[in-house]
């Protein structure tokens, strides 16, 4: 499904701000893998997702989706393969446009956009049904501007937009980090449901160790631009936070000194 082969990326090369963000990342996801990604600040989690999405070109290495090398494609040409939800709820949707217009734009991801009407009549019923499943009352506000919605509602819309046209790979970049705990739980639950129902392959970055353990069938941990742990199958099912911390110390040779992660280890 997804293959990342020896990907390197350095930011601000040759300046005092030089930062080696990815140092030879290798990762293979199988069809239907739901893989959570954890690691401290600056470990390279979001950078990995951005490398896949093509926010900038990598320095070297290959990224393949279904065997097709996408590493030379610009961001908008990779979009047909990917569904993305961002950390900032403002990023994924157009505030000035209606909910239904946002969904219609997402539904045409990867298609040629011509001069036919932007939202067709038959689409409305379909979107209404999809929104009703979310149980957020959004199905009755389809012609409201997205800017009027709360962060959680916007994130739910973004999630629907990311999956409205089945992506080969769903990228969730700390998509619940900016939400309050209750809303975060709801959005996570929605993500789980959508991934399971559509049998999606997904990568989810999170700072919450508990979430990383509970969700998905696979877990990778990053540190200093490398993947240092890759846990799946039975081992993942039986994982605990304490066990994970222990494994991190063993793999990286250092104690996990990241307040945000340690603080969020308990549910």
């Amino acid at each position: 499904m997804l293959e990342i082969k020896n990907v390197w990326k350095t930011f601000n090369k040759g300046t005092v701000n030089e930062k080696q963000a990815l140092c030879g990342v290798n990762l293979t996801l199988n069809d239907g893998d739901f893989c959570t990604v954890i690691g401290g600040n600056g470990a390279g989690k979001s950078t990995t997702l951005n490398a896949i999405a093509g926010v900038w070109p990598v320095d070297c290495g290959q990224i393949l989706i279904d065997g097709k090398d996408i590493s030379a494609l610009p961001e908008h040409k990779r979009a047909p393969y990917l569904g993305r939800v961002f950390q900032d709820p403002m990023t994924g949707t157009v505030a000035d446009m209606e909910i239904i217009e946002n969904l219609a734009i997402a539904a045409r991801r990867g298609k040629k956009r011509g001069l036919s009407w932007g939202v067709k009549k038959e689409e409305k019923a379909r979107y209404r049904e999809m929104l009703a499943e979310f149980d957020l009352g959004l199905e009755d506000r389809m012609s409201s501007k997205v800017g009027l919605l709360s962060g959680g509602q916007r994130q739910a819309i973004t999630l629907l937009m990311a999956t409205i046209k089945k992506p080969k790979l769903l990228l969730l970049d700390e998509h619940t980090a900016a939400l309050d705990p209750k809303t975060a739980a709801k959005v996570l639950e929605l993500s789980d449901k959508i991934i399971a129902e559509n049998n999606l392959t997904a990568l989810m970055v999170t700072h919450n160790m508990h979430d990383a353990i509970v969700h998905g069938n696979r877990l990778i941990m990053m540190s200093d631009g490398k993947i240092i742990l890759d846990i799946s199958g039975e081992e993942k099912k039986n994982l605990t936070v304490e066990h994970l911390l222990e494994m991190f110390e063993k793999a990286s040779g250092s104690k996990l000194e990241n307040d945000r992660m340690l603080l969020s280890k308990d549910k």
Partner: protein, 321 residues
């Protein structure tokens, strides 16, 4: 005090009224230009200054072609095409060469000054209604108003349709959220170039009509056009929001750009009627636009500000004390 009485005595209300239709006609033509500015400034979120050049280009193309015996409709079409090309250049400077939006516009604008001179051959070309068949002319103001409104209706209808299509939606998305647009597979460089080209095409159409209306094309006719276009957009927006509040839809927003253009020219008519020196008209333009740009900000501030908090707290303290 005598001089004041003398000054007000010299103002003739009838002369203001007689100038009114002319102001309205000019306002409509500039309102079209405002729609071009609306497209880039509001929808694409791109401050495009090339319009000062492309407005004059529209006038220059029409004048030269008329003088060379072309029918007026053909001159208008070629003027629009020339404007499209000018917008294309700004778009390519910005997207291919990474030049910031305002600078890209300024570069095109300054280049167009020379190009317009080359098109015209000299700095001023008369195209009197006596010698040519024109679409609009100051010699028949009522007709000019009607024709102007007709063209506005066509342009607004076309814009309403286009920005409702799949492609038009991508331009709106690009202006509002480029990161989302890219994630949804929209080539934002493409949408920016298209929008800039369409905007400048519209501005050139307005320039062509304005040259016909005033009976000549002039190399300086576009100077400060961006400010007048902005005036139309901002005046229209402030007024439209005051009247329609939450019911402002896309069509009303565009209609109010035309209304904004007309009001701007009526305001200028008042300024001239008050016998202010004509040398200062640009100064008045700047003042009018500054006022309308400031209104939404000041309104918001009136509702909530630090000063208000201080006042309220002082009041409460007084009550308790």
């Amino acid at each position: 005090m005598d001089f004041l009485a003398e000054y007000f005595g010299s103002l003739n209300p009838l002369s203001f009224l007689s100038a009114l239709p002319g102001n309205i006609a000019q306002g409509i033509i500039w309102g079209l230009m405002g729609l071009g500015v609306f497209l880039t400034f509001k929808l694409l979120n791109f401050a495009d200054l090339s319009v000062d050049g492309s407005f004059a280009t529209g006038g220059a193309v029409t004048a030269v072609m008329l003088i060379n015996g072309c029918p007026v409709w053909a001159t208008i079409i070629v003027a629009i095409l020339a404007g499209l090309a000018a917008g294309l250049v700004t778009g390519l400077l910005h997207t291919l060469l990474g030049i910031p939006d305002i600078l890209a516009g300024i570069l095109t604008q300054i280049a167009l000054y020379s190009i317009n001179l080359n098109i015209m051959g000299k700095s001023n070309l008369p195209i009197s209604y006596r010698n040519y068949t024109l679409v609009v002319s100051a010699s028949n103001i009522n007709m000019a108003i009607l024709v102007g409104l007709g063209i506005c209706a066509i342009v607004i209808a076309a814009m309403y349709w286009y920005f409702g299509t799949e492609q038009g939606s991508t331009i709106r998305a690009t202006g509002s959220n480029p990161a989302m647009s890219k994630a949804q597979g929209i080539n934002i460089n493409f949408t920016k170039v298209i929008a800039l080209a369409l905007s400048n095409g519209l501005v050139a159409l307005s320039g062509s009509l304005f040259a016909q209306y005033q009976g000549f094309a002039d190399i300086n006719m576009g100077r400060g056009a961006i400010v007048i276009g902005l005036a139309a957009v901002i005046i229209g927006e402030v007024l439209g929001e005051a009247i329609f509040r939450k019911h402002m839809n896309f069509i009303i927003r565009m209609l109010f750009v035309i209304v904004g253009g007309i009001l701007y020219y009526i305001a200028m008519g008042i300024v001239l009627w008050l016998k202010m020196p004509t040398d200062d008209t640009k100064l008045f333009t700047a003042i009018i636009v500054a006022i309308f740009l400031a209104v939404p900000y000041l309104q918001k501030k009136r509702k909530t500000s630090f000063k208000k908090v201080a006042k309220m707290n002082a009041k409460n303290a007084q009550k308790e004390g």
